[in-house]
């Protein structure tokens, strides 16, 4: 029923409303993807927005310079993000947890520097413009599809043995290795899977906005928001990021989007509060209290 309502929403929603729902879907895809690597394996990825940006740039370049239609450019964005994940993940996932986190911290800045450097292709600091196209409604559906795909993927992973092994890595990597789990490879797979969502979402977002520049697609704020949403809703769960994304996005729009610094400050505070008070997130609390199944 909810699905039906969401499906017909663009028909009678306002322009702002459709945009907002589109963003919610985007955040669901992002937070859910972050959850796949960080929630399930415990390897905190602080630079996940890199994949969003990579997908955005790949998609934008294909659309603007090679004339691809966005329907094809979006998956290509996802593929580009996965390629990036492979390049980064291969060396970095061999590292143990804290070192991986540090490496991801630096990733953002590096990517921004690289984009500025390769100006010819990317338009450098002044950004890249896409031919105008009013495609908000189809993109709404595409983004919704992406969000659904990510959530479904999470469900499939959590209910599979692959997911169980990932969670073993999270709980005790040494024991996992002792049990014969090839941790580096599992982490890499999870990482690749977690990069596809942001890549596609990035390409779609770029198409929707019509213009991208380094600062708009690689901001730390995006990573922070992804993390807050997944944490708040419940990392390691399927619906946690969905819940977190929806609730926090709405709250943000209603209350504090007007005060950008307060907004981030609040997110920082929420992260601290969640870590200290409810490390398993809202869904985690509900899981315990109402004995919900693990696969929620």
């Amino acid at each position: 029923m909810l699905v039906a309502a969401l499906a017909v929403y663009p028909a009678f929603g306002t322009g702002y409303g459709v945009r907002a729902m589109l963003q919610i879907f985007m955040w669901i895809a992002l937070a859910g993807s972050w959850n796949i690597i960080s929630g399930l394996t415990g390897y905190v990825s602080f630079g996940h927005v890199a994949f969003f940006g990579a997908g955005a740039y790949a998609g934008a370049i294909l659309i603007a310079k090679a004339g691809w239609p966005w329907v094809l450019a979006a998956p290509a964005g996802g593929a580009a993000a996965c390629a990036l994940a492979l390049v980064i993940g291969y060396p970095c996932l061999r590292l143990k947890g804290p070192y991986f986190a540090i490496a991801m911290l630096g990733l953002n800045e590096v990517l921004r520097a690289l984009v500025s450097y390769f100006e010819g292709l990317t338009g450098g600091g002044s950004g890249l413009s896409l031919p105008t196209l009013h495609a908000t409604v189809p993109i709404y559906y595409a983004m919704a599809g992406t969000a659904a795909a990510v959530t479904l993927l999470t469900f499939l992973i959590i209910t599979s043995r692959f997911g169980l092994r990932l969670m073993t890595i999270r709980e005790d990597e040494l024991a996992a290795e002792a049990m014969g789990i090839d941790t580096a490879r599992h982490k890499l797979y999870a990482f690749l899977l977690s990069a596809a969502g942001p890549g596609i979402a990035g390409a779609l977002a770029a198409r929707d906005q019509g213009y991208i520049e380094p600062i708009s697609v690689f901001p730390l704020a995006t990573t922070i928001t992804m993390i807050v949403m997944a944490l708040f809703g419940g990392k390691g769960t399927v619906w946690g990021p969905v819940f977190g994304a929806a609730v926090l996005f709405v709250a943000q729009e209603l209350v504090w989007a007007r005060f950008p610094y307060v907004h981030q400050l609040l997110f920082g505070a929420i992260i601290v509060a969640v870590v200290l008070l409810m490390p398993r997130g809202v869904l985690g609390i509900l899981q315990v209290k109402y004995r919900l199944p693990r696969t929620i």
């Binding site: 905190v44 800045e109 870590v275």
Partner: protein
């Protein structure tokens, strides 16, 4: 690259690298202490440095306090901030899985940066003091960098003396080797944690204070320092305090060297690649293993 590398240029690189290296070493020592004693990765380290810079700036603009005299004041003030942070938030994640401490300090760092943006705005501030450089043969030594080096070297030396010679310093080192045994020996580990965090914050603040006359002050200035401090620790070996010195110097030299051949934008990439390479090839750092 048809740049002819003259010996003078190499010399300049080495000198600039050493001057910068001491600062890196001092700030990274703080981070190393926190990690060594508490196993906490303090992502908020950079923002704490930023707060140090702002403290010096305000002391200068409000009271005309000489920025170099304000170094001890800033250190003391931020020492208190560090202790408070530890006592209120960080202590809860000391024994928790690393994920928690990472996320917690990440949240704190966001909070600090945005508080600074709200309180101080993003306008660039600067402390004008001691400009220009001293020529020394074919080299130019920036005055502010020279003084920063002197201070950083001095503070770091004092820190090491403290760690090696005083009872508290030894208690800190004991706790980082083994908290349980330290407790058995009668060391109040929780107090040591507070002290260490405060000390580390003071070191970061000193870095910030010294930077206040060198670079523009703005709320985001600390972020890159967090990353670079980690790089230093990885280079020198986590938990290895003298390693932080070596790592700092190395980073300074590599950075200056890289800027000779590459644009400044790319020299950040070099630092990052260095990190990845070192982590893959010798994850225990150049001085190896854990040894305090």
């Amino acid at each position: 690259m048809n740049v002819v590398i003259t010996p003078a240029m190499v010399g300049q690189v080495v000198i600039s690298g050493i001057l910068a290296g001491a600062l890196y070493a001092m700030v990274a020592l703080g981070l190393a202490l926190i990690y060594g004693v508490m196993r906490v990765i303090n992502i908020a380290h950079g923002p704490l440095l930023m707060l140090g810079a702002y403290t010096t700036f305000f002391l200068y603009s409000a009271f005309g306090l000489n920025p170099y005299l304000s170094v001890p004041v800033t250190m003391a003030a931020l020492f208190v901030v560090g202790v408070v942070l530890q006592r209120s938030l960080v202590f809860r994640v000391v024994d928790a899985p690393e994920l928690s401490s990472l996320l917690l300090t990440f949240g704190v760092s966001i909070g600090l940066v945005n508080l600074a943006q709200l309180a101080f705005t993003s306008d660039l501030r600067a402390v004008e003091y001691l400009t220009g450089s001293i020529p020394l043969g074919p080299f130019a030594l920036s005055k502010t960098r020279l003084v920063a080096f002197a201070f950083a070297a001095g503070v770091t030396a004092l820190a090491f003396l403290f760690l090696q010679r005083t009872r508290l310093g030894k208690a800190i080192r004991a706790t980082s080797q083994s908290p349980e045994v330290a407790m058995v020996c009668g060391i109040d580990v929780r107090r040591i944690h507070m002290l260490t965090f405060g000390l580390a914050t003071a070191l970061a603040a000193a870095g910030g204070a010294l930077l206040a006359v060198i670079v523009a002050i703005q709320p985001e200035m600390g972020q890159v320092w967090t990353f670079k401090s980690f790089l230093v620790i990885v280079l020198g070996g986590a938990g290895n305090y003298p390693g932080a010195l070596l790592g700092g110097m190395l980073l300074g030299l590599v950075e200056q060297g890289a800027s000779l051949f590459l644009t400044t934008q790319l020299s950040e990439v070099v630092a990052y690649l260095l990190l990845v390479v070192v982590l893959l090839v010798r994850p225990t750092g150049l001085l190896g293993g854990r040894q305090t």
